[in-house]
Structures are given as C-alpha cells and as structure tokens.
C-alpha cells in the first residue's frame, strides 16, 4: 500500500514535450510508473519514445496528472486535469501566481480532487510509482510516510533513512509556496489511514503556521508516531529564504514556534537532519 498513487495509477504528463518534461517523463517511465500519455496542445499524434502525446487530457484516459507546464499556463492546465476528474494533480512548476494557485485549490476543493503543489518535487511510492522529480534511487520500500515542504532537504533525510533501513510507503513534497494543495494536515490523515504506514516524518521550515496547526491536528487525530525536522532556525525575519513561502513575518513563522508546538504534542524534532532515523527508531 501507499497513498495517492501506486503501480496501477494511470498517469498523464501535461507539458511532457518541454526539456524538463521529456527528461522527467522518461525517468518516471523508467522507474515503472504507469505513464499512459503526455499532453501538449498542438503536438497530439507525436510520440516520446513509446509514450503517445495528446492534444488534450481528455484523450489520454488517465487517473492522475503531473504538470511541467510553464507557470503562466498552470491554472488552465490544472483546471483541465481537475475538470477531467483526475486526482492527484501534481503541479511541479514554480513561480505560479498566487491568485492562480488559489483558484486551482478552490476549483479542486469543489471537485473533490487532490492537488499537490505547486512548486513541489512531487511524490514517490517506492517500488510502485514516481510522480515527480525526486531522485528515485535514494528511496526504498518500507513503512515510513514522509511529508515535506522542501526538496533537496527531503533527499538528505530520505538518504539517511534508507541507509538506516527505514524504507518509505510514500514520500511527498507538499511544496514550498505559501498556497499549496495537500498540506500537512490532509497528508498526515492519509498516512494515518494507510495501513502500511507505521510512522511519519514531517519536514517543515520557516514561514506560515502550517506546522503549528499540524501539531494541534496530530494531538487530536493522529495515533501513529510522528517525528519532525524544521529548517530555518537561523533565518532572519522579513527575508524570503529561497522558497516563496519561507519567510518570517513579524512574530509568525519562526522555527522556534514550530518546534515548540510540535514538542508540546509529543513530536520529537531533530536538531540536525541526520538525527531523524534515530528519532524514528526510538518511537518504533
């Protein structure tokens, strides 16, 4: 088992013919992901290796979508996927206007679709499906669910976990933008409901109060062990630390506040990334 996608999920890649799109479509396919087609308007009928390219999502007959389209086309492309009943809809692209991101999320909410991102490395259910740009070789099948606002930091921690024989059920980058689809709370609940996930690793960072809200939620609704790491303890206020969402505004969004909230509900927070595996072992 895994959350959101598995080896049977039929995937369409929107924006499959761009440079990034081609590279990652091939890599996802090579990993064994059930890619049924790519979509690029005006390129329908072409092939990417043995993957057919369509003009519209409708023609691809997929269950879920991953999007590499340019930021300014993200809204219309995501709406197309959602309108066709696809879920999850994984939006890799960064620099999507926040107004468009909000539109997409509301449209998805009304349609009951799961959106991941935008500005996310995507997700992987190791051994089953890769729906993103994460480097698949560092992952291993297992029973830890990972959810993170960061990309490379996730790889760092996954690498430590895999080396320590702590494989993953699904690992998901929820995205580094201020407005994203699946958030910590909805993702934690999915892992809670997944019988093959035994514990969760939640990687947070400065900005907003999603970690604080997740802490409250964990207290009320999550029975499985959760460990955490929060990046940005030394970040100054008022500056965006790379990610659009990683900014301390006034007193809100500090790492201290997040760590405090998590500790208060019994979630251990690693001081350094490489300590995560040990914290997991302590709880399992």
């Amino acid at each position: 088992m895994a959350i959101l996608v598995n080896e049977k999920t039929k995937i369409v890649v929107q924006g499959a013919t761009g440079r990034q799109g081609q590279f990652h479509t091939r890599r996802m396919k090579a990993y064994g992901t059930n890619i049924v087609g790519g979509v690029t308007p005006g390129k329908g009928g072409a092939m990417l290796d043995d993957i057919p390219i369509f003009d519209t999502v409708e023609e691809a007959g997929a269950d879920a979508a991953i999007l590499f389209v340019p930021a300014r086309l993200m809204r219309s492309a995501a709406v197309e996927a959602i309108a066709n009943g696809l879920s999850p809809v994984v939006c890799i692209t960064e620099h999507v206007p926040i107004k468009d991101a909000m539109f997409i999320q509301e449209y998805a909410r009304q349609a009951g679709a799961d959106v991941v991102g935008p500005n996310t490395p995507g997700l992987i259910s190791p051994g089953k499906a890769l729906l993103g740009i994460l480097p698949p070789h560092i992952f291993a099948e297992g029973s830890i669910g990972l959810l993170s606002r960061s990309g490379t930091l996730t790889y760092e921690i996954i690498d430590e976990m895999t080396k320590n024989k702590l494989g993953q059920s699904t690992a998901i980058g929820i995205g580094g933008d201020p407005v994203i689809g699946m958030d910590f709370i909805s993702t934690l609940q999915r892992f809670e409901d997944d019988k093959d996930t035994k514990a969760m690793v939640m990687i947070g960072e400065i900005g907003g109060n999603a970690e604080e809200l997740a802490a409250e939620y964990i207290k009320e609704h999550i029975t499985k062990p959760v460990v955490s790491y929060i990046a940005g303890k030394t970040a100054p206020p008022g500056k965006r630390m790379g990610h659009a969402g990683a900014v301390i505004s006034g007193n809100t969004g500090t790492a201290e506040s997040k760590i405090h909230a998590l500790n208060a509900v019994g979630v251990p927070v690693a001081t350094m990334p490489h300590e995560v595996p040990q914290l997991l072992r302590d709880l399992l």
Partner: protein, 372 residues
C-alpha cells in the same frame, strides 16, 4: 514587488478611492514649487520600501518654508534600515478624527485571500491582532468569485457605520478588493484609513504585487527597475537568477534547494559558526552558475570560509566541482557532495586539493573550524 506609498496611491486614485495625495520630489530644489501648490503646513514622507519610517524620522510636519526645506534636505539624505531615501512625498496634512485599518492578506491555511478590517488603524495590524483580536473583522474571499459587494458592506457595518459613511466605506473596501484582484496583489492595505471632516481618506498605502504574476502586468515593468531597492550583492544575485539573502556572519554558504541551504545554515550555527549568507543555486546548476554563485558570496567582505553543500538530484556534482575550480575562491572551501556524478566530482576536487566530506554535519563543522 513592493510599491512605494505614492505609487500605490496613484493606483488608488485611478480606481476612485479617496486618497491623500501630494507631490513627489527627488530633489530639494523642487520643494518650493510643491509648497507653492500645496501651501503650508505640509507633511514630508520618505518614500522607502521598509516599515517604521515614522520612528526612523522619515515623516515630518513642516509649518514654514524654512522648516520644510531643512526637513526635506534631512530626509532626502538619510538611510532607513540601510536603504537610502531617494524620493519624498509632500502633502497637505489631513484633519484626522479617527483611523481605521482595511487590507487584504493571504491566508495560507485557507488558501484564500482574507479581508481584514479594524477600527484600530494607524498602528501595526499585527499588534492589534495580538492584543485585541476581537477588534479585527475578517472575511475569507472566494478565489473564484472574488469579493462580493455584500461582504464589503457587512464589514463596513461591523465596524459600526451606517448611512452615508456605510455606503462610502463599502465602496472603498469593494474597490480595494478589485485592485487586489486586477493587480495580482499579495498584500494591499490602507493603514490608516482616516475619517476626516470631508469623509474617508487613505493616508497611507501599501501594495505588494506578486512577482510571479508580473507577466500579466507590463504596467509595473518600468516602476520595478526604477524603485526596487537592492544592495549591490542582492542586485548581482537577482541578475544571475540566484536566491540570495545577506546575513551577519562570516561563513559563506552555497547549496542546492532552499530547504537544504536553510538546514546548512542551521547546522553551521549549531557548530558555533555564523553564516554570511543564504545562497541557493537551485536544481540543475552548471559550472557557470556555481562560479557566479561564488563570485556573488565573495563580494561580501570579511568572509573566512565557504561551505558548499550539494545533494545532486538534477544537479550534477561534477559541474559544481568545475565551477569551484574555475573561480578559485580566495578563502578555504569545505565541500560536501553526494548524488549524480559524485565520484567524478570528488576526483576533480581531490586533485585540486579541496577538502571533501561525506556528510553535511562533518563539512559544516570543518567549515566552522576552518573559519576561526
């Protein structure tokens, strides 16, 4: 992209929000003409993109021409939080009976814009939120439909207004919502929205346009170049397309991916070091990008060592290694690399005599020690 007060006010005026405007000058030589038009007294307001102008002495009232000349000269030669004051807004002071707050901000958790309004204007709204949260009225805006007129009216009513005042305030809130929508604002505020004997008046204006939406707003392209204020290093980073934040310490940091770079700062700090900067070279960086990144962080004086932390997914380690050699940094570099083409990178760097580490904590610790 933040707009200066007068730029935001120009937009307010265009949309019909009653606004205290005035005359913008960038040279004291133009003050006399402004005073001739406006009369005395005048308010002189430094046009800078940081908060706390008032406390820093950037807002003054002048009663005579001499006073005005003196104050204008003073303000136009000051720096506020490191930013030089290049422009001054000269306007006629308003008779203020009461100060309100109206603004739209992003609610990350609801994934929607929120209208905030309060009878406690003129102060930082975050302070009001902390001390008297019951005095802030909130409405969550549907991202598909946008602000509806009755939401603006309900808000005006909740602030206690009726009659003509209710109608005016409804219109101001409704219009502010329209500007938010039309201009892709991620923040728009009138604080204070004053009540004067003539009615409501926007005394200040704050407007941040979503940088990612700039492709829809050619009208801002010119302004941005003119008024965005960056340090020379920030400017160089921006031009190179690198995410850079200047910090107080002396250990330069380069990594790929915002989260990993933040974690790198934290680990350096954990070992007692003080990072000099945040620099994310992003995914898929070339030797050229890496060289440029090193150039940028070494623009800062007093650098003692550099910590390079690469977890190569899309990024190829050998490219990064080549970039380091091309630049040949003036201070010791401590490199941690893993992932794509890791072996080749190690070979290149070892040959050139660089220190390579197997984990980020080891490399960070070495960089801290090496920087002492």
């Amino acid at each position: 992209m933040k707009l200066l007060e007068y730029e935001a006010k120009d937009i307010f005026v265009e949309y019909g929000i009653p606004t205290s405007t005035g005359i913008v000058i960038d040279d004291v030589a133009n003050l006399k003409a402004a005073l001739y038009k406006l009369g005395l007294p005048v308010v002189l307001k430094a046009q800078v993109l940081v908060g706390g102008r008032g406390k820093a002495g950037g807002i003054k009232i002048a009663k005579t021409e001499e006073e005005a000349m003196h104050m204008a000269e003073q303000i136009l030669s000051m720096e506020i939080k490191g930013l030089p004051v290049k422009k001054l807004l000269v306007c006629t002071p308003s008779v203020i009976e009461k100060e309100l707050y109206v603004g739209f901000v992003v609610d990350r958790n609801k994934k929607k814009m929120t209208l905030l309004a309060s009878t406690e204007g003129g102060v930082d709204i975050e302070q009001v939120a902390e001390k008297t949260p019951e005095k802030i009225y909130k409405v969550t805006i549907d991202p598909i439909i946008g602000l509806q007129e009755h939401e603006a009216r309900n808000t005006a009513r909740k602030l206690g207004y009726t009659g003509e005042a209710l109608v005016s305030l409804t219109s101001i809130i409704d219009t502010l919502g329209r500007i938010m929508q039309d201009k892709d604002a991620e923040l728009i505020e009138i604080n204070p929205l004053a009540i004067t004997p003539e009615g409501f008046e926007a005394l200040d204006a704050k407007l941040i346009i979503d940088d990612n939406a700039m492709f829809r707003h050619p009208e801002f392209a010119k302004d941005m170049k003119e008024t965005q204020e960056f340090t020379p290093i920030e400017k160089a980073a921006k031009e190179a397309g690198l995410a850079y934040v200047e910090l107080d310490g002396d250990i330069g940091i380069i990594g790929c991916g915002a989260g990993l770079v933040m974690a790198s700062l934290d680990v350096v700090n954990h070992y007692g070091g003080a990072p000099a900067n945040f620099l994310d070279i992003g995914g898929g960086a070339t030797a050229e990008n890496m060289k440029k990144a090193l150039e940028i962080i070494t623009m800062k004086s007093g650098l003692k060592s550099i910590f390079v932390n690469i977890f190569g997914g899309i990024t190829k380690c050998d490219e990064v290694a080549k970039g380091i050699l091309e630049f040949n940094p003036p201070v010791p570099v401590y490199v941690r690399m893993m992932g794509t083409n890791e072996e080749e990178a190690k070979r290149i760097l070892n040959e050139a005599g660089y220190d390579l580490y197997g984990s980020m904590q080891e490399a960070a610790e070495a960089a801290v020690k090496g920087g002492k």
